[in-house]
């Protein structure tokens, strides 16, 4: 963390993410009205930002077509989008780490088989894989997370496998082995912690793309289902209002840009700090 807070960009990015997370945690809890409930539609709908409704409530970002407060909904959507992005990438990274480490450690047929599966999955663009899975199982939050994990572990598995293969030739591993350390302990205590740098960078950068992919799926109607808000389905909700009430689509889009931008800046900083030579491809974006 010490190195992470050193550059201005990373500091701003961390602050923005914390602020968003805080807002996402607090705003829906403190909001005067239920962000999912619809009240007097005709009187409340499509109020522009910073306007007051008949009851005198201020709507910071205006209201949507059902008269629901956009700021509250956006923060509630932030909870869901952030949680899906972070949990999805962390679980995918954990799965990739275990698979990559075990494949490299065992070698042989297991390694070949696992890497063939990873290569096959990597050959299908992640969005296409996501769409196929989303089409086959019923949409919803847990489906989206499961799909993000199922389609996101391969990159980390490859990185960890490569690092483990390199690290296990180091002298300190030989030394530990000579001291009588068993193979399992050798892998988890001595090799793996030294092989995680690139995986951590890839995971941090992956959070941004997971959030974007979730928003894309939800935009297409295959992810989080309304009335539960996600930034993606909120943009979809503002799609045909882009001329008459542009704020409905602009606000969640900006939230997405800020979040993904912050995740990318933090990932870039980590890469510079942790592992100079890691190259992670541009990958799939929505």
């Amino acid at each position: 963390m010490n190195g992470l807070a050193r550059t201005t960009g990373a500091r701003v990015a961390l602050a923005a993410l914390l602020l968003l997370a805080l807002g996402a945690a607090l705003v829906p809890a403190l909001a005067p009205a239920d962000p999912l409930a619809v009240s007097d539609v005709l009187a409340q709908r499509l109020l522009p930002p910073l306007s007051r409704d008949a009851a005198g409530h201020l709507h910071l970002l205006g209201t949507d077509r059902f008269g629901r407060d956009l700021f509250t909904r956006m923060m509630l959507a932030g909870r869901i989008s952030l949680a899906i992005g972070i949990v999805g990438s962390l679980l995918a990274a954990a799965m990739g780490t275990v698979i990559g480490a075990v494949a490299a450690w065992r070698g042989g047929v297991l390694d070949a088989a696992v890497m063939a599966v990873a290569d096959a999955l990597l050959a299908i663009p992640r969005l296409v894989l996501l769409l196929v899975c989303a089409a086959l199982w019923s949409p919803g939050i847990s489906t989206v997370v499961a799909i993000l994990v199922a389609t996101g572990w391969m990159g980390v598995a490859r990185l960890v496998r490569g690092e483990v293969l390199g690290v296990r030739e180091r002298q300190y591993v030989d030394a530990a082995r000579a001291l009588g350390t068993g193979p399992r302990r050798l892998l988890w205590r001595h090799v793996l912690p030294n092989a995680l740098g690139p995986a951590i960078v890839a995971t941090t950068l992956g959070v941004g793309s997971a959030i974007l992919l979730e928003s894309g799926l939800s935009f297409l109607g295959l992810g989080v289902q309304p009335p539960v808000p996600s930034w993606g389905n909120m943009i979809a909700g503002g799609r045909d209002l882009i001329v008459t009430a542009p704020w409905v689509a602009i606000a969640p889009g900006l939230a997405l840009v800020v979040t993904v931008l912050a995740a990318t800046v933090i990932g870039d900083t980590l890469r510079d700090e942790l592992a100079g030579e890691v190259r992670v491809g541009p990958g799939d974006r929505a």
Binding site: A116, V117, D119, A120, L121, A123, I124, P125, R126, L127, V128, L131, V132, C133, A134, A135, L136, W137, G208, L212, S215, G216, F219, L220, G221, L222, G232, I235, G238, R239, I242, V243, P246, A249, I250, G253, L256, V257, V258, T259, V260, L261, T264, V265, R279, G281, P282, G283, D284, R285, A286
Partner: protein
């Protein structure tokens, strides 16, 4: 020669693995395609007959063998919703996507490399920082959101605010509805319709490439031969185009292959927002209708493109990079 053969065979093996995997994925998913095809009033006997007709009552291994045999003969089955061969649907949609994706891939690469090189040349200055912020922000923006914004400004806004005719751009489809028939519209019409979708794809793609092109260029500009060329009096433009670019090309070619999945993903959204009848839209419609043969067919084509691009990059690298020649 032998390694070339091995790579090509490896690519085909990989493609086969992808095919089998997608087949399994689709077959193991919950839901009965026969139930989706029949009206709600159909009897159990009718459903059973349809299942027999489609071969769905056979064991999975038999279904796989039949399907694999058909694929080898170039037969991807028939669309459940449209009752036409999947290959025919793909043949109609692929050129549209190829035009959209291909033109934006070229623009992405040229623009992204140029921006990255300008940044590297002005390293640490205001221009470099501004471009870093701009490219990172664009890279973070969802393509469908950018697309909606462009439509709001250049289609609806242009009409309201009285933009000059050249800046009033169509937002839907690839042709003027009033234009004469034929499979493809006239070139000026097509280009006008292509401006917005290609701009979105290029903006997102180029910002991603620029981030890498900058570091790839900086890796080269530190080298001795660049200093030597500069000392010899080579001008900046010539230095970058003739000395730096060829040496930075290797990572960029790899990057081009790696960025193909991103372009494909982007085109799914862009085709959806701009209503272009390409493969992305075909895929989305098929998904909403649970049209499994079409889903499988499009996935196969996408995977073949990605595997082919990686293979091409693998094979091209030794030709471009003297250090890798043997």
């Amino acid at each position: 020669m032998r390694s070339l053969l091995r790579r090509v065979l490896g690519a085909f093996g990989l493609l086969w693995l992808v095919l089998s995997f997608t087949f399994l994925l689709v077959r193991l998913a919950p839901g009965d395609p026969a139930a989706l095809l029949l009206p709600a009033t159909a009897s159990a006997a009718e459903a059973a007959r349809l299942r027999t007709e489609l071969g769905l009552d056979q064991p999975l291994a038999v279904q796989y063998a039949r399907w694999a045999g058909a694929v080898v003969r170039g037969d991807l089955g028939e669309s459940l919703a449209q009752h036409r061969p999947v290959t025919a649907l793909l043949a109609e949609a692929a050129p549209v996507s190829l035009f959209l994706g291909g033109s934006s891939l070229v623009l992405t690469f040229v623009l992204g490399t140029a921006v990255g090189m300008v940044q590297a040349a002005r390293r640490g200055r205001v221009l470099d920082r501004a471009l870093t912020v701009a490219t990172t922000a664009l890279y973070a923006a969802p393509s469908f959101w950018l697309a909606l914004g462009l439509v709001a400004v250049f289609t609806y806004g242009a009409a309201t605010w009285g933009f000059p005719a050249a800046l009033r751009l169509p937002a839907f489809g690839m042709r003027d509805p009033a234009s004469a028939g034929g499979a493809w519209p006239a070139l000026p019409d097509l280009l006008r319709h292509a401006v917005l979708p290609v701009t979105v794809l290029t903006a997102v793609g180029a910002s991603g490439i620029a981030r890498y092109a900058r570091s790839a260029t900086l890796d080269v500009t530190g080298a001795e031969f660049v200093r030597a060329a500069r000392a010899k009096g080579v001008g900046t433009a010539r230095l970058y185009v003739c000395h730096v670019l060829p040496n930075a090309a290797t990572p960029l070619i790899v990057l081009l292959a790696l960025s193909l999945p991103g372009v494909i993903a982007g085109s799914v959204f862009v085709e959806s927002v701009f209503a272009w009848p390409g493969m992305g839209r075909l895929m989305l419609t098929a998904i909403l209708q649970r049209d499994y043969p079409v889903i499988l067919g499009v996935t196969v084509v996408y995977a073949a493109l990605v595997i082919g691009a990686n293979l091409a990059a693998d094979l091209l690298l030794p030709l471009l990079d003297p250090r890798r020649r043997r």
